[in-house]
């Protein structure tokens, strides 16, 4: 039985907009186990991104618990949580979210700096990963000198920097044409297969979702149904 890396237990998230309450999450429960490839689907505004933020410990629930490797994140200090997040979780966003003042290589190196990796280690590692995503010829370019597909590959490389246990991808193909999109997906699949990295991916595309072993359907901030592929 593989261990559970992230667990949401009856998580609520409520936003207050003036006098209005928006319940983005309404008691969602979800387990992500080591080595899984999970897709999350659901209509717009159903709470997918909010749920991903919880899974990635970027946000804290209004109610309910989030466990990271069995530890309640509410009991972790800010600096400890940040360090653990940096080591265990890699993020890929719909809008790439690279740092524009840094080159592709520097973007990949940044998480390593934050984890105190030495300079030689970093250089070596960054080159290795960029080779994996086929970008060694672009590694000294800044994001605005790269195509969307290339930027997303840099983001994938960055998410791999610390060999995380989990990669969280919120609509990674949302801003890409279908060709770049399928390249990105194929990289994620490769990571999952070859390195056994756990992957959680939000997508609107049923076809893309079928790459996952399991699809969680969210509606109104709750899991509506779960579908196992194969």
């Amino acid at each position: 039985m593989p261990e559970t890396i992230i667990e949401l237990n009856n998580v609520w998230k409520t936003y207050y907009m003036g006098n209005n309450e928006v319940h983005a999450l309404q008691g969602i429960s979800l387990k992500v186990k080591k080595g899984e490839f999970v897709a999350i689907m659901g209509p717009s505004g159903s709470g997918k991104s909010t749920a991903m933020n919880m899974i990635g410990c970027l946000d804290v629930p209004s109610k309910g618990e989030v466990y990271l490797s069995g530890k309640d994140i509410m009991n972790m200090s800010e600096s400890n949580l940040a360090q653990v997040r940096g080591r265990k979780i890699g993020f890929i966003f719909q809008k790439f979210n690279l740092i524009n003042t840094l080159t592709a290589k520097e973007n990949v190196i940044l998480p390593m700096i934050l984890q105190d990796m030495t300079k030689q280690e970093r250089e070596l590692k960054a080159y290795e990963i960029l080779k994996l995503v086929d970008l060694t010829d672009r590694m000294n370019h800044r994001p605005n000198e790269l195509s969307g597909g290339q930027q997303q590959r840099v983001a994938i490389a960055r998410s791999m920097a610390m060999n995380p246990e989990v990669i969280l991808a919120d609509e990674p193909t949302g801003n890409l044409d279908s060709k770049s999109g399928s390249t990105v997906i194929s990289f994620l699949k490769k990571l999952h297969k070859e390195k056994g990295t756990t992957i959680v991916m939000v997508t609107h595309d049923e076809h893309i979702a079928h790459n996952a072993e399991r699809i969680e359907y969210i509606k109104d901030g709750k899991i509506e149904k779960v579908k196992h592929n194969k």
Partner: protein, 417 residues
């Protein structure tokens, strides 16, 4: 454990420093504009202090030429001006004799310093005339102490009435069409005199524009009778200077019939004179530096403003950094580095500018005014202090924006557009 943490912190500081440099370069124009306030302020502070210090050094060396065993006696002044000019109760020859007879006094030299009207070549101008005593002991003492040297011609002899020597600056007096030469005749308060010598440069701008003549000669020209502006007393070697000062004070009080602490005259050692001048200079410098500080404060506010803007602009970036593992303390450090860097780069430019400025003032003063009193001096403490200070101003100004950046919640920062 502690060692590992320290070395990690060290490494991070180095990395963040590079990040900060990259960011400042990315926003070149704004970085420059932000630094203006700091570097103007630092430049002003550095040049003011260096000139103030230089002046103090120059005055100190001028007066120490007088020797510390000398005592200077003047009548109390009603207003500012050359010694004795506005004294209610000037010193007289009787006072001189009292001082001369005081215990511990080896010899005395008297001086008159008066503004006079000079006429030469149909031009009229006003200058100070200073005198040499008409006794050889006093005269030799003065010449030796002030290091007067003749460049052209000769000194005036004791008793000569219509002969003068002039300071170096008369060689190129701007009022006149040509320089004054040995043998020229000019008139002092309408009385004709002849130049017999020109002094070598003394380094003191006052002396270099003064004319010198015998005391009795000046007395006759402006009807001074027996008043004296300054008396300089040389103490004999074995005497304690402070003791002699007290003796002179007591004798003068008796002679002039005044009570203690109500003296209408001043008795100072050259040491005291230096230190009181030094104090005045320090106060003047401090006031000017205080004004320059305002510029630095304004510069600091500029840094705060720039850093707040940077936090707003880079909210998303902060969110990304936090998502990929940056702790609050990392974000804080990165932003502090950036503002500190703004401060210290401003400081470096300011120090260079300040050095250039005070050197320029020094050169202008030396060439145009012939003054060697204005000299720039740069003690290492000043340079290092200025740099440290500018870094601190930067870091302190950036503290509040950096804290704001550090406290951003990752998800909120990420969702910023």
């Amino acid at each position: 454990m502690y060692k590992i943490m320290a070395s990690k912190l060290n490494r991070r500081i180095k990395e963040y420093f590079m990040l900060a440099v990259a960011n400042l370069f990315h926003r070149k124009l704004r970085s420059w504009l932000t630094m203006i306030g700091i570097f103007i302020g630092i430049a002003a502070v550095v040049s003011l202090i260096s000139l103030g210090q230089g002046m103090k050094d120059a005055i100190f060396s001028q007066f120490s030429a007088l020797g510390s065993d000398n005592i200077i006696i003047q009548a109390k002044q009603a207003t500012f001006g050359p010694p004795g000019s506005s004294a209610a109760n000037p010193l007289t020859k009787d006072d001189r004799n009292i001082i001369k007879k005081s215990r511990g006094v080896e010899l005395v030299a008297t001086r008159l310093i008066k503004a006079v009207q000079l006429d030469f070549d149909k031009k009229t101008f006003f200058r100070y005339a200073a005198t040499f005593p008409d006794d050889s002991d006093g005269r030799n003492f003065l010449i030796e102490r002030f290091k007067f040297k003749i460049e052209k011609g000769r000194f005036i002899e004791i008793g000569e009435k219509n002969k003068i020597i002039v300071g170096q600056n008369y060689a190129a007096e701007p009022v006149l069409d040509r320089e004054l030469r040995v043998g020229d005749k000019l008139s002092i308060n309408k009385k004709e005199v002849e130049i017999v010598g020109i002094l070598a440069k003394t380094g003191n701008p006052q002396y270099d524009r003064t004319i010198f003549l015998n005391e009795e000669a000046l007395r006759e020209i402006i009807n001074l009778e027996d008043r004296i502006d300054i008396i300089i007393a040389k103490t004999s070697n074995e005497e304690d200077v402070e003791q002699v000062v007290e003796t002179i004070k007591k004798n003068l009080r008796n002679h002039r019939n005044v009570e203690k602490d109500k003296e209408d005259f001043e008795v100072q050692t050259s040491q005291q004179l230096i230190s009181s001048l030094g104090t005045i200079l320090t106060i003047v410098t401090a006031v000017l530096v205080g004004i320059a500080m305002i510029s630095i404060i304004v510069g600091g506010v500029g840094i705060t403003n720039t850093m707040y803007t940077a936090v707003l602009e880079r909210t998303k970036e902060i969110g990304i950094m936090k998502a990929i593992g940056a702790r609050n303390s990392d974000v804080l450090l990165i932003f502090l580095m950036e503002s500190g860097l703004l401060g210290i780069v401003g400081g470096i430019i300011g120090v260079c500018l300040g050095i250039a400025l005070s050197k320029t003032v020094e050169i202008i003063a030396a060439n145009a005014l012939g003054s060697e009193l204005i000299k720039a001096s740069f003690p290492p403490v000043l340079i290092i202090g200025a740099l440290l200070f500018s870094f601190l101003v930067g870091a302190i100004s950036g503290t509040s924006p950096a804290i704001q950046a550090a406290k951003l919640k990752p998800v909120d920062a990420l969702n910023q557009e």
